[in-house]
Structure formats: C-alpha cells, structure tokens
Symmetry: C2
Subunit: 345 residues, 2 copies
DNA sequence: GCGGCGCACTCGATCGTTTGGGAAGACAGG
DNA sequence: CCTGTCTTCCCAAACGATCGAGTGCGCCGC
C-alpha cells in the first residue's frame, strides 16, 4: 500500500522479455471470443462499433502484435520472398534490391536477403533456409540454378532468375538486360571514335562476349578480336588487363565485362604508364556509382537496375498468384553512358 | 491400363506446386508415428537403427523438408535475427553484414536484412515486420532507436545497436569504433605532415567531430578549426568542400566524416583545380574499397568492420541466451591507413 | 404468433511441428 | 508367474492464429 509496489523489486531480478500477448489475452481483456478479435483485426464489416472499439483498445493497451508465424502456418503462405544475392558488395545488386523491395512492398510481400558470397555451398544453404521458412517466392541474383537443391526449389517455389539467361527450367522467369545490345553499344561507340584494336575482358556473362564478337565482325574487325578472361574483381581485371596491354600490338581500347573489372583495367593502365583516354579507352558495364564518380568517370553501359528490380517483382507476384504459368523472359534495354574514360584512338 | 495414365493429362493442366510433404506423409510412408519421425530428424538416440533408416529413406524419397514455420510456433523462437540497415549501398554496412552473418551462422541463427533507406517510416515498418515475424534478435545499423516502435521493440527483443553510441535504453548493447581515437589518428597524421589549417566535414557521427576538436586543441591549432556539415553522399561532400575550399585562407587539409564524403572533397578539389595531395590533403573514414581503389587511393581510418560484425553477433547471441543482462558497450579500435591522398603541407 | 432471415458473435477444427507422459514388449530377478 | 527396469515407440496436448459452421436474438411480414 505504501512504498513502491512489490513488483518493482521483482522486476529488477526477473528477465525482461515477458511473453508477448496473444489474441487470447486481447479477447479476455475485451470480454469477447478470440474469433471476434481476429475479425476486428482483419477489418471485417460485421462487427458492432461498440465491440470493435473494445477490442482495439484492449489490443493497444496490451501492446498486441499479431504473430506472423502462427498466421503463416494456417494461411499456408508467409508473404515472404527470399532474394539470394551472390555478392552484397556489388552495387548493382544493392540498387536492384531497392527496386525489388519497393515493388514487392506494394504487393504486400516482404523481402529477405541472403548472400551466398559466390560460394555454391552457401547458396544451397541459403536456399535450404528459405525453403524451410516456406517463402512464397525466390529471386536469384547472379546465380544460376544448377545445383540439385536449387532446381528442386524452383519446382516448389515460384522463382525469378536475374542476370542469367541460359536457364531452361520449367516455370522459372528470367529478367536480364539485352547485353548483346549493350556490348554492341559499347563497340559501336569505340569504333565511332576510330578504335580498331578493341579487346574484351569477359566475366561470367557469356552473352556479353557474344555481343562483342558479333559487333566486331559487323564492323569487319574480326582480325582484331582479343578476349581475356577475368574473375569479377578489381584485381582480376587488373591481371587480365596487364595480359592484354603487354601484347604487341597492344589494344587501344578495352571493353570490360563490368565496372569492377574495368576499374582493374584503369589500375593496370596506370601501372603501365598509359594515360586514359589518350592512350587507352575503357568501357565498363553496369554504370555503378563507381563509374559515375568523377575521379573514375568511366564510360559504361547502364542497366536499368531499379526497373529490373520492379520487373522481377511483377513477374514474381504474378507467378505467386498463378503458378504453373509458362516461363517468361523479360529483357530490358541497356544504354551507353559516355564519360571521360573513352576518347579518340 | 494402356496408354498414358490419366494423371498425366491432368498434370498438364494442374498447377505445379503440389503441396509439400509433411511429417505425416513421411510417417505413413515409413509406417511409423509422426512423433518418431520427429525424433529421428532431431537425432534422438533412442531410436532403433531399423526404423531410423526407414524414416530417413521415406523422407528422402518424398523430398521432405521440415517446416520452419510450424517448428517456430511450437518452439517459441525462430532462430532468425533481423538486421535493419539504413543504406545497403554504403559498403561499410555490406562488409559488416558479412561478419555478422558469418558469426550468427555459427550460432545457428539466420540473418534477415531490412533496409530503411534512411526513412524513419520505413524503419518503423521494417521493425514492425521483424517483430511480427518474431525474430529472436535485432541489429540496428546506423539507426538510433528513437521512435516509439523501436523502443518498444527493444524491450521485447534482444537488440544490438551499431555505430550509435548515445543510446540509453535498458538492455541494448552497443558496438562502435572509438571514433574519437580515429579522428585523433587522422589529425595527428596531418599535423605530422606539417598541416595547420585542417578542416573537418562532419556527418552524422558527432563524436568524430568531437575527436577532431579535441585533437586540434591538443596540437594548439584551435584557431584553425573549421567545420562544415554535409549529408553523407558524394554530392554532399562536394558542396561542403567547395564551401571550405573557397574560404580565405583555404585549408590545406580536410578530414571528412567518411569516405563517400571524402570522395566529394576530391571531386571539389579537382573542380577547383587543386591537386591532391600537393595542394590539398584529404583523409576519409571507413576505409571502404572505394578508398582502396588505386585511382582514388584515399588515406582513411579503418574500422574493423568484420570484427564489429562478429562482436555484434556475439553480443546478440549472448543476450538471446540470457536476456535481462545489463547493457554493454563494445568499442573497437580503428586504424589509420595511409595512402596517396595525404602529403606534406 | 410463428416461420424466416440477418446480424453479431462463438465454437472448434485446422495448419505442421515438438515433447512430456505413458504403453507395450523384452528380459531379468525373485 | 509376478514385478521392475529398459528400450522403443506412440498419443495427444500444446503453440497462436484463421475461418467455416453454427447459435442466439431481434425484427419483419403475414
């Protein structure tokens, strides 16, 4: 009666996380059945204003928050989509995810991100986790479903693959940019500037290399074709570039598979005492903010990342609503952004 | 009896996603009770080898995958940790998340990522979602729990805040680098090089600015103190830098609150025809791969990101195991990485 | 006065697991 | 043959929500 209530001293010893209130507690406090609480919370019209207020107030007072786990169990769906990305550091993915999330949000879907760090074992593990969580859909970024787990996953869960075109799995949608066109834009630009010895550093996207080859031949530059392979890192790009630039005669322009690799090319050029763009023109791919930065100012092919994210979201929502559709391919159009890393031959 | 079975034609029309097998189906197929299946799957020792094999085989044949939703419901925990990050594009966060995920994984916890895009409304929404999902823990990156939702969240869910030190909430652990020390390292370095007019561009971390002020005074350079505020983008940095560099007399060195801002400083310097480091020295903070890139080669203060991620994971796991602990502050030691953006005054 | 109809609300089954408390069988000791 | 102890397995009650199928009740028209 006097002094602090007994509970206060107990609370100091007791652990904080009291059990969260359930729909039951709300029902009891409001003096109604739990069904009615559910009805109110889901916005049913067949509830009297009187009771509705009682329920709402009880919920507020208790700090009630619906348990998505229980809801998912009975609904049979989680309203979650898993996005598996090979590399969070790649700014391309970050921006894509922005677009994806934005659109999913509009469809009442939540995005989970898993990153595989390019490791197939992690990929499998992450997908496994997503499947156990019973995500409603899957978005694979820079990851081709080749492992058994991944393929099995696609048969149970609506899936969209981004950035890989050679997937032939039933009911898997694909979002890519038209990177053959992208490559062509890059080569056309370089040819316009008078370049002939245009080399290419290929990464994982074989169609970009394809586009390079086609474009070179169209310009009757087949004899000048030079291709080097590199892993998608700055260092990988540097090594490949060194290999290219020490050839005799050396290329006057390099079209790199992506910006990170292009960055490595710039590094290599610098190390070899070549000025850009006077001695060497460089074109990247992806138009990441790296390339936009004024110190780098890299001519690059832009993929409309947000748009791609939105497309992926649209395809996925669609497929979640009606699985068993035929696979669709959504191809978006890239654009060349000219900056200061390219100049006359 | 002859010709294709009837089911085949139906299957063509029917939607793909057959219902996933449950523990029941496995039990039936193996001829045991569902409890036993559960026991086998959880590795109980009190199961005869005979039955264990039968169960395992049935599970394999059906492609059974446990339903984490149901499991979570009964266990009362999800083994999920929500990481709320203000900006996925910031490479600092990306690397931190790597460290975090790596460690959480060891503790059998899964990481979900939500990004708030610096928008408090999104923050609340993401946290709300995490709470409904009943995550076991919360990691807040570059986000101070100020909104009501966030504060309520911390009282129900073990929480670790990263990069914000001025949090005074019961039972919330904090991971930060000692950025007063970081600022001192930067200033000491510049003073060693003979700089006096050292300006600072402050971002959101006030303690860095504090460290700058303290260090300047310690070197008896109080009269030269110049501070400009900027939003944490390249453009924000550029504007602030232009403001600083057009002062008379202009600073010979700039210590920026982070690398992205420092990049803006480099841009501004370039635009104003100032050479780096001959006319202007620049120090950043965070040592992102931006600064490491050879074209930028920015002297920067390194926060041990992965280590911080691991610390956060450790604190969180600990708190999940035993909530109600007192709040702890884990402060990691930064390090100066000298590159080519700093030189003699 | 009574059958019929709507409205407001409740009951209880259900989702796929985990898990404590048995139950059945084998086997040994008395 | 009875009892007790293990081992090996099963039953059924949770977990927290949704939702179809009811149940009362007031009100209408005839």
């Amino acid at each position: 009666m006097s002094g602090p209530p007994v509970n206060t001293t107990i609370a100091e010893v007791d652990t904080l996380p009291r059990p969260r209130p359930t729909i039951r507690n709300v029902a009891e406090r409001a003096g109604v059945s739990k069904s009615l609480v559910s009805l109110v919370l889901r916005g049913s019209p067949h509830v009297s204003e009187h009771r509705r207020q009682a329920v709402l107030q009880a919920a507020r007072e208790l700090g009630y928050r619906p348990n998505a786990v229980a809801r998912s169990l009975v609904e049979g769906r989680t309203h979650l989509v898993g996005a598996l990305v090979a590399d969070l550091h790649n700014p391309f993915y970050a921006e894509f995810l922005d677009g994806l999330q934005e659109s999913l949000h509009g469809d009442g879907l939540r995005m989970l991100i898993g990153n595989s760090q390019w490791d197939p074992a992690f990929e499998d593990e992450a997908v496994e986790a997503f499947l156990e969580l019973r995500v409603d859909g899957l978005v694979l970024l820079g990851i081709a479903p080749t492992s058994e787990t991944l393929i099995e996953a696609t048969s149970y869960t609506p899936t969209v693959v981004v950035g890989e075109r050679d997937i032939e799995i039933d009911g898997v949608d694909i979002v890519v940019d038209d990177d053959q066109l992208g490559a062509r834009l890059a080569i056309d630009h370089l040819v316009d500037l008078g370049h002939k010895r245009i080399a290419h550093i290929e990464g994982t996207k074989s169609s970009r290399c394809e586009g390079y080859l086609v474009a070179m031949r169209r310009h009757a530059l087949a004899p000048y074709i030079m291709v080097e392979h590199a892993v998608s890192t700055e260092d990988g790009g540097r090594e490949a570039a060194v290999a290219l630039l020490t050839r005799e005669p050396r290329p006057t322009a390099v079209f790199a598979a992506n910006d990170v690799v292009a960055l490595g090319v710039l590094t290599a050029a610098h190390e070899l005492g070549l000025r850009v763009p006077e001695d060497l023109s460089v074109v990247g791919y992806d138009n990441t903010h790296l390339s936009a930065s004024r110190h780098i100012s890299l001519t690059s092919v832009d993929q409309p990342r947000r748009t791609m994210g939105r497309s992926a979201a649209a395809l996925l929502s669609d497929r979640i609503g009606d699985p068993g559709k035929l696979a669709r391919l959504r191809q978006v159009t890239p654009e060349l952004i000219v900056r200061r890393s390219t100049g006359p031959a």
